[in-house]
């Protein structure tokens, strides 16, 4: 029995053989993990690693994952020009570990990101041009990272896309946008049954410092509003469904990460965090992209970001037919690529 166990153990180890898999080329597809603060986070580097330019996607959530960003358009427009780094933050997507509540804080997320960038340089070359792309909650992670120590020296530029750097302001802006849109639709008699509950909630919960529960509710109503608003470019991708088999997506881990995060104390701890006053420390070039129809991270966040950021090289783009996802994918991704090419 002992020998059988040994054989099985060795077979397993051989099967999951862990040699380094580093591709320098036009079509890299490297998966690896990095262990930091008690969790091993999955990283997928895909695309043109030979360009020496890497775009690190800092996904939303908390608890979402990078699987959702891996669309055919992303591959066609962005990954052909540079390497795209899809990484799952702690407790999200395909990341794995045991209990790590003590490390579930924004500072650790920033340290994880710093560790990842150092690892990328170790694997692919110290002279890499690294760009960050923060989306949604990734804006908080990006802000924590960029305003800490001299971390910004590690990156060439920062793309701040439909993202948040100030949850309090985010809630106020979402509240106002929901109130305005619902009032307008009710007055015009459009989708009254859908807009009425949104209007009622916003009327009964007036702006002020919102609690964590109110913040979550506003976020949910923001998503709801995006489902019923008119004028959005259709978004054809159900990435998780389409890539489930080909990308080996661990579905239960993916869904548990999303649901788990909503209930975690970590989410509530983010409510009072504001980076507006610290953004003056950031001087690298920034591209700020927001959407007209985004109720989750309204464009007002971009305006506040632009007014506080210390960078002299800064540009803000507004996408008229998009909401919180990159619905106008061609326009978004071409803007990313243009910014990267200009600053690499």
């Amino acid at each position: 029995m002992k020998n059988t166990m040994k054989m099985l153990f060795l077979a397993t180890l051989c099967y999951s053989c862990q040699k380094e898999d580093i591709t320098i080329g036009l079509h890299a597809d490297d998966t690896f993990y990095f262990e930091s603060g008690g969790i091993s986070m999955r990283v997928l580097v895909r695309g043109n690693t030979a360009s020496n330019t890497f775009l690190v996607l800092v996904h939303g959530g908390p608890g979402s994952s990078s699987f959702g960003y891996d669309t055919p358009k992303m591959a066609e427009i962005v990954a052909s020009e540079c390497a795209v780094v899809f990484y799952d933050q702690r407790n999200a997507g395909a990341s794995q570990g045991n209990k790590n509540v003590a490390n579930d804080n924004l500072d650790q997320y920033a340290d994880d990101l710093k560790g990842l960038i150092k690892l990328l340089k170790l694997r692919y070359g110290q002279d890499l041009n690294i760009f960050l792309m923060s989306k949604s909650f990734g804006g908080m992670v990006g802000s924590a990272f960029m305003t800490k120590d001299n971390n910004q020296d590690l990156v060439k530029g920062w793309l701040f896309v439909n993202a948040s750097h100030n949850y309090g302001l985010n809630d106020s802006l979402t509240h106002q946008k929901l109130l305005d849109a619902s009032r307008e639709h009710l007055a015009a008699g459009i989708k009254i049954d859908s807009w009425k509950p949104i209007f009622d909630y916003c009327q009964n919960n007036l702006p002020g410092p919102f609690t964590a529960e109110q913040s979550l509710k506003l976020n949910k109503l923001g998503w709801k509003a995006q489902e019923i608003i008119e004028g959005m470019e259709p978004y054809d991708y159900n990435v998780i469904h389409d890539n489930m088999i080909t990308e080996d997506i661990p579905l239960t881990s993916y869904y548990l990460g999303r649901t788990n995060a909503g209930a975690r104390n970590f989410n509530a701890s983010l409510t009072p965090i504001k980076f507006s006053a610290e953004l003056h420390k950031v001087t690298v070039p920034v591209l700020v992209c927001f959407s007209k129809l985004d109720f989750v991270c309204p464009e007002g966040l971009g305006v506040d970001f632009m007014s506080h950021i210390g960078s002299s090289d800064k540009q803000m783009l507004i996408f008229e037919k998009s909401a919180h996802h990159f619905e106008e994918q061609d326009a978004y991704y071409n803007a990313f690529v243009n910014f990267i090419i200009r600053h690499q």
Partner: protein, 217 residues
């Protein structure tokens, strides 16, 4: 430390199996342990399962129906010890050990259904190279990185005994591993395998009893 933990888990599982097999040595003829070998796929990710099941109890049930017919079936109880494995590309390899209680209902023609709760230990190996980043910023390659989990499973399935010593079976399981990412990890698996009961292999004496249900017309 890990090796010790592994060893203790193994010892514990088999001690439970053996202890139970002794305590129920009561009334009738000896019965061999069953050896189980199965293809253990987690939907599309391959794996295997090997195990043994120790017969603990057999209840011969006779059910008298109102129309006068009589139905016979056996309720069989086993203690099981299983070693399972699956490979999920780019995610992890999971090697796990389960000790379970099998409740099987076997019809005279050989068809059976079963339900089995189990608990055990799991060790995963991450699906790609893993780097450890220390607080100091030092980066090292971490060989055989993975995690230890407690594991609980509920399993249910059906099978057919096409010979007294050989059965084929299909079983679906839901593995629950914890603590995982501050909570738990769920993994459905499907087994397709055979149970072989070789003669004179780890023999034990299961307790046998009978139970009659319904009124005799």
């Amino acid at each position: 430390m890990l090796h010790l933990y592994n060893r203790y888990s193994l010892l514990l599982s088999f001690t439970i199996v053996l202890c139970f097999s002794n305590t129920v040595s009561a009334q009738t003829s000896k019965t061999s342990f069953g050896v189980k070998i199965a293809y253990n796929a987690t939907i599309i990710y391959p794996g295997f399962l090997i195990g043994v099941e120790c017969p603990v109890k057999r209840i011969v049930v006779t059910r008298h129906r109102m129309n006068g017919s009589v139905k016979h079936f056996d309720k069989l109880r086993f203690l099981s010890a299983d070693l399972g494995y699956y490979h999920h590309r780019n995610f992890h390899d999971n090697l796990y050990l389960l000790a379970g209680w099998v409740m099987r209902k076997q019809r005279p023609r050989g068809f059976f259904t079963e339900f089995s709760p189990a608990i055990g230990y799991s060790r995963t190996f991450l699906g790609a190279e893993t780097y450890h980043i220390a607080k100091s910023g030092t980066i090292t390659l971490h060989k055989f990185a993975g995690y230890n989990y407690a594991i609980a499973a509920i399993r249910g399935g059906f099978g057919y005994a096409f010979r007294p010593s050989t059965s084929a079976y299909f079983r679906a399981s839901l593995l629950t591993m914890f603590p995982s990412n501050n909570l738990l990890y769920l993994r459905p698996t499907l087994e397709l395998g055979i149970i072989w009961r070789p003669s004179h292999f780890l023999e034990t004496r299961p307790q046998i009893s009978s139970n009659s249900k319904g009124k005799i017309p």
